[in-house]
């Protein structure tokens, strides 16, 4: 399902993550990851994001993840909330 509007979930506070989902020009998804612990956990963040996004059926979106050291459960929760907000606009 594609989206039309930009949405966010989470925050930039310490131990949280801000997930922003915006419409992309193509039908593919693009995931951008920024993290204060990119060296240690960059790959894991990407893997979790890909997994949650694939399970949701989201398409044609730019998913921007700004991580401030969130736990994996926080990351999943923020991703799921942002995706459900993005898809709720249909």
């Amino acid at each position: 399902m594609s989206i039309r509007k930009i949405v966010t979930a989470g925050s930039l506070e310490s131990s949280d993550v801000l997930v922003t989902i915006a419409p992309a020009e193509s039908n593919a998804n693009e995931v951008k990851v920024e993290s204060i612990v990119i060296k240690q956990f960059g790959n894991r963040i990407r893997k979790v994001a890909d997994e949650v996004i694939a399970a949701s059926g989201l398409k044609g979106a730019i998913i921007h993840i700004q991580d401030r050291g969130a736990l994996e459960c926080t990351l999943r929760a923020r991703l799921e909330t942002a995706i459900s907000r993005a898809l709720a606009q249909e």
């Binding site: 509007k5 966010t8 925050s11 930039l12 506070e13 951008k32 700004q66």
Partner: protein
Amino acid sequence: MSAEHFGWEERILFSSKEIAERNALLISRGLNVPENADLIIGLYEGDTLIATGSLVGTVLQGIAVSSQTEGEGAAAAIVSSLIKNAVNRGIQHLFLFSSAQEANRFEALGFSLLASTAQILAFSDFLEGANGAALLEWPTGQIDNWLNSLKPVVEGKPYGSGAVVVNCNPFTLGHRALIEYAALKSPWLYVIVVEEDRSLFPFNVRFELVKKGTADIKNITVLKGGQYVISSATFPTYFIRPKNSEADTVSIAVSLHAALDLILFRRYIAPALKVTDRFVGTEPYCPTTSSYNKMMKKILPAAKGEGVPIRVHEIPRFEIEGAAVSASRVRDLLRSGNIHAIKPLVPETTWQWLTSAEALPVIKKIQHSNSRH
């Protein structure tokens, strides 16, 4: 984690008491109080305001944390809240003004630095003691998208092109003379029209009149200025008519905004367009534009600083019978209803538009407005 966990309460500030507290906090941190804020947010610890931030159009400004609360994450809470509020209003692309020294704190919050007066060495000399400023954007990569969109335009054009940036409110023989001269001196010329729709003539009219009025010149491309050339993000004070009582503070703000706009031009726009020369008309009337031109001659050609030095050519204003032909003069004549005196000042294409039915609402607006633009 939300702010409440620390005993902080987030409020949207409305009352005159809250606004006064916020202004006092900004001033105590040495910051200017932004005008025309669409939204002002504050964090309270009990009855004490400990942090604040404002949304002005698409720009985050006036972000400050009290000295007692620094380092506890209040700035992150404020910025997060401003982003969420902006996104809820449908804004996808945000800018942020900060002092040059604090820009890195906002970079840590996911903003990317576009321009900082710290990038121009010896800038302090230009500003006569004022604090430097920086402009950042969110999310990252927006300027790259815009520069990429210019690639098809630039393809096949020569290195060493010229550029003029014009508002053309409306297009006159003065603009025409500047563009003719610049096109003669350059292998290719980009005419960049300020896109911000805050002038008396709407952008689409200004843009069309420039295109029509220069259609016979073969080596030029007329471009939209977008958000990175004199916009309310890069240069908000360009569009404001200063009150006389505030002339000093405004002149510092104008210098800072002008500097950031010119650093953007030098760092991103000129390299993307392969531009090495910028042409500008002398400014006899408007103090804002005259201050911008002054700053241009210092920043663009400077040997040190990011990007390639750009030559600035300042061309005397085109005159008819000893008086400079300018758009502000045309607007004054429209305001006083002296339409026929305009004919010798503008190209035939502009004259046709001014005497068309389409122009009536614009002329009416000018006659009822006191705006500088």
